[in-house]
């Protein structure tokens, strides 16, 4: 049976521009979408591409451990939001209303279009920064991935007060920084502490989300 490391080796051909494109798409999805299922999936895929990029800078095993921490974080987000969606279950609606809601899903909202525009601006800025201010010790495509992750993470943090969105933004920002910093300081101690930081951020965001749900239920009661 192949191990996680074997699997990562098999897909290592993606660890260049395809992974950067993957990071761009997933971070962009996080910035635009408010659907928790889509966000959980995007974060999971983002960590996959991040691990691929990390394999070019650090040992495969260390990158795999970072990926495992990331996927554990995704699990925390998924379980929290799944529970929240169960508790926040809206009252049953008429069939005509359900049809209109289904249609509305395909029409882009004003909020989403604003986030999309802001995301595009940030991406252009990240691309320009990658060309003008290359980061030391990392190749050009990874520089672009770092700037994209940090920029779109900041956008997520800046545009919302919601604990989960801010948590996702902070984790995306930290992923961008970590991708750069492992090239400067590849020590296991720093990798471990960075993993602990990411996991605690996820726990804090999930804790605040449960408080939000509890407060909402108390208000409704």
């Amino acid at each position: 049976m192949p191990t996680l490391v074997d699997l990562l080796e098999r897909v290592s051909f993606l660890a260049a521009m395809p992974a950067v494109a993957g990071v761009f798409v997933t971070a962009g999805t996080l910035a635009i979408s408010r659907d928790w299922r889509l966000n959980s999936l995007a974060l999971t895929v983002q960590y996959f591409f991040l691990v691929l990029l990390l394999t070019r800078l650090i040992r495969l095993e260390v990158a795999a451990v970072k990926g495992l921490i990331g996927w554990l974080i995704c699990m925390v987000f998924y379980l929290t939001e799944r529970r929240a969606s169960t508790l926040e279950q809206p009252a049953p609606v008429e069939e005509s209303a359900t049809v209109s809601q289904r249609w509305r899903r395909w029409i882009i909202s004003a909020r989403a279009s604003f986030h999309l525009l802001a995301g595009i601006l940030i991406s252009v800025a990240a691309y320009t920064a990658a060309l003008r201010i290359p980061l030391p010790q990392v190749p050009g495509d990874i520089t672009l991935a770092c700037y994209l992750l940090a920029g779109l993470g900041l956008l997520l943090v800046g545009l919302s007060d919601d604990p989960m969105q801010v948590g996702l933004g902070l984790l995306t920002f930290l992923s961008g920084f970590e991708l750069f910093y492992v090239a400067l300081e590849p020590s296991l101690a720093v990798a471990g502490l960075m993993g602990a930081v990411s996991f605690l951020i996820a726990l804090a965001a999930a804790y605040l989300r449960t408080i939000q749900i509890a407060a909402g239920r108390e208000g409704a009661a």
Binding site: P163, A189, V190, L193, A204, A205, I211
Partner: protein, 475 residues
């Protein structure tokens, strides 16, 4: 042989677990937390650094013994001892007040956990790794800042956000300086390092325009937990700044160091002075009071000499007497007003909760720097020191103090409104709803603050001695 350094890190963590399991017994958990902090504070100050001490049986303890953790060295040095003592003694006082005002709060176990992490941040070498421990502490503090009931506090998340944004700058600095040692002709590395450090510490200290987390944590979070962040957490950031200045002395030697620090401090003082009297909630008032306090400390640092550094350290010693007391009073007032702390909701509450009112008002006046309060003991020498070179700063500092006092006065005016009887006569309730134990704890805290204000000659030499351990200003 037990390493004292390890004791300072492990004991609070172990006690955090114990206290968490005993949380339902309010007095026990609070007294255990306060006792642990007190014992560690005494150990940090009283036990000798360079010789082992007999504990029990064959057990010995050596405070100065270095410990290796994850390949990094942790060592207690002379400069760290007083800093640790400030942290632990402040925490002990804060836990005692929390016993009466926020019983069964997560502040006790989380506070002990934070003490361990923040102590680690002060002890780890090189200090660059402290940034990671401070970040972990910020993530943990979200749990302490959040009240058990009510909506999610934005303050904790905002504090975590600003700390996370400060992390990259602090970590990359270390690598830049290592590279500069290898290639000293690349002088632009120094410029990049200075910018990264300035932005990172501005984020961590809440310098304008990165100050929004300060008033948010005091406004919507557990007040005593926010006081923990603004006294103990902020104190660690200040000591980290001193360690960075010590490690890179060219930073304070730079001709632009003083003007930049002075401008940052002045901006904080002005923003705090303008916004404090306009607040309609005592929580926000506390935040802007803390902003003025930090700004004044930056003005002291900008003096770029040992007396300035002494005043900064004295401010860190005196700040808890005002902020922690204010936070305790605010907690008591919120408890009586159903968690609504707008001035309208607090009208007349001063007669029902006189001890909370007294704690809030006297703490606020100390934060404002009223004469004979604890805050005055370092603001007055600062004004005198600045008067010769920068009269405008002195004027702004005095006006900022008045601004915070106006805010406290407005709060007090609302709190002391008398209820009217049907015959339109003012009515004063006959008894307070606060117990005698709360009264005793508040009286003790006010007494300590008054003693610190009336007899600064006991604490000022400590600050001066601590300032002497740093050499970055020595000509």
């Amino acid at each position: 042989m037990i390493s004292g350094t390890l004791l300072l890190l492990i004991l609070p963590l172990v006690m955090a677990g114990v206290v968490y399991s005993l949380l339902r017994w309010t007095a026990l958990s609070a007294l255990l937390s306060a006792g642990t902090a007190l014992v560690l504070g005494i150990a940090a100050v009283a036990l000798p650094l360079d010789q082992p001490m007999q504990l029990w049986g064959d057990r010995q303890i050596e405070m100065g013994e270095a410990v290796t953790f994850l390949g990094r060295e942790l060592v207690l040095e002379q400069a760290d001892r007083a800093a640790m003592a400030i942290l632990f003694f402040t925490a002990a006082g804060l836990f005692l007040l929390a016993w009466r005002f926020t019983p069964r709060s997560l502040l006790f176990p989380m506070g002990l956990g934070l003490l361990s992490l923040l102590s680690g941040a002060l002890l780890i070498r090189p200090p660059i790794y402290a940034a990671l421990l401070v970040e972990i502490a910020a993530a943990l503090s979200v749990f302490a800042l959040q009240a058990e009931s009510g909506p999610p506090a934005r303050g904790g998340l905002r504090y975590l956000t600003f700390t996370t944004l400060a992390l990259p700058g602090l970590l990359v600095t270390h690598w830049l300086m290592e590279r500069y040692v290898l290639t000293p002709d690349e002088t632009e590395l120094l410029g990049t390092t200075a910018i990264l450090l300035a932005v990172s510490f501005a984020l961590l200290l809440g310098v304008v325009p990165f100050h929004t987390w300060v008033s948010t944590i005091t406004n919507d979070s557990v007040p005593l937990a926010s006081a923990f962040i603004l006294t103990i957490g902020n104190g660690v950031i200040w000591f980290l700044l001193f360690e960075f200045l010590e490690a890179y002395p060219w930073l304070s030697d730079h001709p632009r160091f003083s003007p930049i620090v002075s401008t940052a401090g002045l901006a904080m003082v002005v923003v705090g002075a303008l916004l404090a009297p306009a607040q309609r909630r005592p929580g926000s008032l506390m935040g802007y009071g803390a902003l003025v306090d930090s700004g004044a400390a930056l003005l002291a640092l900008a003096m770029n000499d040992e007396s300035g550094l002494t005043l900064v350290i004295l401010s860190l010693l005196m700040r808890p007497f005002g902020l922690v007391l204010m936070a305790a009073g605010l907690t008591g007032l919120r408890a009586h007003s159903g968690n609504d702390d707008s001035f309208d909701a607090l009208r007349g509450l001063g007669w029902k909760a006189p001890w909370s009112t007294a704690a809030f008002a006297l703490g606020g006046l100390s934060v404002a720097g009223l004469p004979i309060s604890a805050g005055f003991t370092w603001r007055w020498p600062l004004c005198r020191a600045l008067a010769a070179s920068n009269q405008n700063s002195v004027l702004v500092l005095i006006l900022a103090g008045i601004g915070v006092m106006v805010g406290v006065w407005r709060g007090l005016a609302a709190l002391l409104v008398r209820a009217r009887s049907p015959k339109d006569r003012s009515v004063i309730p006959q008894s307070s709803s606060e117990g005698w134990l709360t009264a005793m704890v508040v009286i003790a805290a006010i007494g300590l603050g008054a003693a610190a204000g009336l007899f600064p000659q006991y604490l000022a030499p400590l600050a001066a001695r601590l300032a002497e351990t740093f050499t970055f200003y020595t000509p």
